[in-house]
Structure formats: C-alpha cells, structure tokens
C-alpha cells in the first residue's frame, strides 16, 4: 500500500478508535480504573495522559516485537505472554526514568503508571492490532486513537460523577452501581457515532 493511502487509513482508524469503536464504551476494556479513578476530573486527566502515552508506545513496540520476532520464529501464539512482559517492563522503565529526571512529570503521571500496567485496555489494543492485521503506520494511529477515546470516556464520566456527588442516588446504587449504569448510557450514545463512518 502506498504511504499516502496508509496515512489516510491511519487517520480513519484513529478517528474510529476514538468515537465509533471506542475501546472502553464498545469493548468495555479498562473498566477497573475507569470506575475507580473517575471520581475527579483532575486525576482522570493524569490517568488519561498516562494511558495515551503507554498505549501508543506499547502498541508500537509490540508491533515490532510481533512482526520481527514472533513471526520470524513462527511463535505467534506466544503473543499474550510477550505483550504482557513488554508492557510491564516498559511501564517500569518509564516510571523509573521520569521519577529520576522529572519530578513535575512524576507528580502528574508517575503515580498512575503502575496502575495501568495491569490495565486490560493496554493489552487489548495490542491484541486487536494483531488480529486486525494493521500495518505499522495504522497501528500508531490505532494505539493513539484508542487511548484518546479511553481518556475521553473517563473524562466525560468524571465530569458526570462530580455532579452526581450533589444528587440523591438510591443507597444500593451508590458508587460502582451508578457508574456502570452511566457507562451503559454513554455506550449507547457513542453508538450514535457509528453512522459517521
């Protein structure tokens, strides 16, 4: 495929990853930090930025590892293990580096990094890129788009939940209960984007 076409495909994939096939609201991946951290807009921003960085970077690294190592040896079925260890090592490494060299960045992002090592959305994005057979350039767009989509969803949720603190919610639904219901409604709303593409 010529580069220009790939660029176009990348943009489309990126767009659809943000809106029409949002990794959180249509695949329900990364629900755990989504429900626990979405209480405040400020922390959601931090977590969102960390996810954007880690997801974009790890899908790229994993693409290379998959196509140049696993495929070479014919060991594609090991991708689960490989992706997991790469993500874990990468996150640890990044945490160490920013902890050392940028206190500001560490204050903003650092504490969220360990939290997302075990985030299934990060692993999910790497697995989807393999299943869907994306090229490297498209993968970049996909990883970036998915994480931006995830961030968008958690920001919207945090905004809603900040308002919820003032509303009266039936006792049984407080906390995760109401969050899941709202997530469901948001997912329905995002389905509306499907017609766009």
């Amino acid at each position: 495929m010529p580069i220009s076409e790939q660029m176009w495909l990348m943009l489309v994939t990126c767009f659809s990853a943000v809106f029409t096939s949002n990794i959180l609201l249509t695949y329900f991946l990364g629900m755990c930090p989504f429900t626990s951290v979405s209480r405040e807009v400020k922390t959601s921003v931090g977590l969102g930025l960390a996810v954007i960085f880690v997801m974009t970077a790890t899908t790229m690294i994993n693409w290379v590892a998959y196509h140049y190592v696993l495929e070479y040896f014919g060991l594609e079925y090991f991708r689960f293990i490989l992706f997991i260890i790469i993500i874990a090592a990468f996150v640890q490494f990044v945490e160490m580096v920013i902890d050392r060299y940028s206190p500001r960045l560490y204050q903003g992002l650092g504490i969220f990094l360990p939290l997302i090592t075990v985030n299934c959305a990060i692993l999910g994005a790497s697995l989807f890129m393999v299943i869907r057979d994306y090229s490297f350039i498209v993968t970049v767009g996909y990883g970036f788009g998915s994480s931006v989509g995830w961030t968008l969803a958690i920001l919207a949720m945090a905004g809603i939940r900040q308002r919820l603190t003032e509303s009266r919610i039936p006792a049984g639904l407080q906390g995760p209960g109401i969050t899941l219901i709202i997530a469901g409604l948001m997912a329905l709303a995002f389905i509306g984007f499907t017609g766009v593409l």
């Binding site: 922390t43 090991f78 260890i85 090592a89 160490m96 050392r100 504490i111």
Partner: protein
C-alpha cells in the same frame, strides 16, 4: 520437540533481556545513593535512597502510625517535611487539609527519599514503638465489658505515662475485612512494664471489639503500638475530681496506681457512673485505694438500681451526684473519661461548680 525448545528459548531470552534492562536501569537510573534523614535537627540517620520515607524510618525503629501499610489509603503517616521532600503528590492531597499543606505536612509513605531530607517528628512519636503482646488472661467485668491482660513478648518493656493509650492492631478475621487500629487506654500499673491491661467495652458490630470478644483467646499474639496521648496528671498539687463511666475506668485505674507508686498526697475523688448495679465493676479494687492513698474517696453512682439489687450508695446520674456531692470545686482539677456525651454533660456541671475550663482534662473515647 524443536519448536518447544525454540519457543522456550525465545521467550525466556526476551524475558531475560527485559529483566536485565530493568536491573541495569535500576542500578543506574534509580540509584540515589546514601541519603541523610535529619530528624528534628537532633538526629541524623543514613539511609539507602530510593525508598519511601516511612520505610526508612521503620528500619530505624521510629514508629509512625500507619494502618494501610504504606499504600497511601489511611492517611495516618503524616509528618512535617521541612526540606527535600519533593512535590506534593496527588495521592497525598485527599488526606491533607489546606492548612496542613501550607505547613508542609506530608504522608511519609508517599514521600520518596531521593536526597538529603529534613523532617520533624513529634517528640511523643519518637518514643512510640510496636510491641508484640501475648494475651494472658480475659476476665468478664460486666455483661459487655471485659478486662484483657497481655504480656509483652520476649523481655520487652513499655514505658508510658499513666493515662496514655495504645493502639491495638486488629487482624483481618472475617472475609473482606481489613486491618484496623483502635485506641485503648492502658488500665494497668505503669510500673509493671512487661504487661498491658485493657478494659474494653463491646460495641455492637464494632470491628475491633468484636474481634477481642469473640476471636481473641488466651495465648494469641497481637500487635500494639504506643504509647500516645496527652491525658495524664498535671504537675500541680491541686485536688482532683475524676469522672468516668464504663470502660472510662481504664485510665483512672492506671492513674490511681501511679499515685500509689509515687506516694502522691493529692486529694482526689472518683465518681464512677453506671446505669445498673450489675454494670459496676472493680469496686473492691478501687475501694482499696481509699485505704492505700492519703486522701482518696471513691463514689460509685447508679442511675437506675433495681430494687432487687439492694443498692445503698448514691443514685441518679453521675453528673447529679457530682453536683450535690462537691459543693465548691473552684480549686479542683477535673479528669473526665468516657463517651463524648458524658464528657460534655460533666463539663457543664463542673463549669457550674467553678472549675476553670483550662483545668478540665478529658479523654474522649470517640
């Protein structure tokens, strides 16, 4: 066979390379060398940089309260970091008031020692330690109050001032529970440094008290830390009035033992309130202090004695008894111990009797 061999080789070598990378970067990037922690500008300790401040201090046997084990979820491990603590982290802000943030208070489990660091720890906390205690006896005092006796493991000794309390670490004893600390005033003689006795009232559905009443048995080992608290006798020679109900007996019993130990000649009167005669306890033991101490009077008061109980002492609320029994208390000091409700009611009565507000000391069991 060959595929198995190759796959094992490939995956483990990738894992190995990544691990090596991390080990190397840990050595070169996350190596902060030896750092000094300066405590109250009095004591300097040298620690390996890169760990949390809390774990550095624990290593030096400086015990900072921490109920969550350094996960940043309990907010107990606060201390003042004057310099070198780095930026306030988002994990800390939920636990710090605006004033505390201004005063450089931090959660020590979240502060990482990256360079020399200057901190301030309350004097009181420096003598706080953790003790392993072995339960050596449990006695029923009333239907919902028990006396728990503990011996310190090894030949450990605890130094405390009569009236102070310890924190008992309740282990996880039901599914989904978590470790909690609860404060209990020491009820035993301060000279008996190898033992701790607690008087505990069962709180229905209370986490720690239910554990003590239903799960703790003789021979079990639990952890306590302490001593804490500012509730203790003043240095004056003024006469004193003690008012307590229920488990509020604990610090008063300890204070009376202390007075006996030090040969105190202070005049003292102790009003001990209960609803029924069956809720009174340790009566004979406390009465004995009337003989042993120079000028001590013990006045148990029962609010609603059953006719069948043949109560001959004072009846009514403990506050009423104080009011009618003590006429002029202007030169008295007051020591109150028990529920916040009782403390408030007694405080009002004492104010009426002329006890200055600054002379009313209390330990609220809230």
């Amino acid at each position: 066979m060959v595929t198995v061999f190759i796959s094992v080789l490939v995956i483990s070598s990738i894992g190995g390379v990544l691990a090596l990378l991390l080990v190397l970067s840990e050595k070169f990037i996350a190596n902060y060398g030896i750092c000094t922690v300066d405590i109250n500008a009095e004591k300097q300790i040298e620690v390996q940089g890169g760990q949390s401040l809390l774990s550095c201090l624990v290593e030096e046997d400086i015990f900072i309260p921490s109920a969550c084990g350094g996960r940043g979820t309990c907010g107990y491990c606060k201390l003042k970091v004057i310099e070198g603590g780095g930026l306030l982290l988002p994990t800390e802000t939920p636990f710090l008031s605006d004033q505390e943030q201004k005063d450089d208070i931090r959660l020590s489990c979240q502060v990482k020692v990256r360079n020399d660091i200057f901190i301030e720890i309350e004097k009181e906390l420096l003598s706080v330690r953790q003790y392993e205690c072995i339960c050596s006896g449990i006695e029923d005092l009333t239907h919902d109050i028990k006396l728990f006796k503990f011996g310190l493991a090894g030949s450990e000794e605890i130094d405390f001032i009569a009236g102070q309390y310890v924190q008992l670490l309740t282990p996880v004893y039901f599914k989904g529970g978590e470790e909690v600390y609860r404060a209990y005033s020491v009820a035993s003689d301060p000279l008996n440094k190898g033992a701790i006795e607690l008087i505990i009232r069962l709180v229905p559905n209370g986490i720690c008290t239910t554990y003590c009443f239903e799960h703790l048995s003789i021979g079990d080992t639990i952890l306590m830390n302490g001593p804490y608290g500012e509730f203790h006798l003043s240095d004056t020679e003024s006469p004193m009035v003690f008012i307590a109900g229920g488990s509020g007996m604990a610090p008063i019993r300890c204070i009376l033992s202390h007075m006996l130990n030090t040969g105190s000649k202070r005049k003292a009167v102790y009003y001990f309130g209960a609803n029924k005669v069956s809720e009174l306890f340790m009566i004979d033991e406390i009465k004995q202090f009337e003989n042993d101490l120079d000028d001590f009077r013990f006045v148990p008061v029962v609010a609603l004695p059953d006719p069948a109980e043949h109560w001959t002492g004072l009846t009514g609320l403990v506050t009423e008894a104080v009011e009618s029994d003590l006429e002029n208390a202007a030169d008295y000091e007051a020591y109150l111990c028990g529920s916040p409700g009782m403390i408030e009611a007694s405080g009002k009565v004492l104010a009426k009797l002329g006890v200055p507000e600054g002379k009313i000391y209390f330990d609220s069991f809230a």
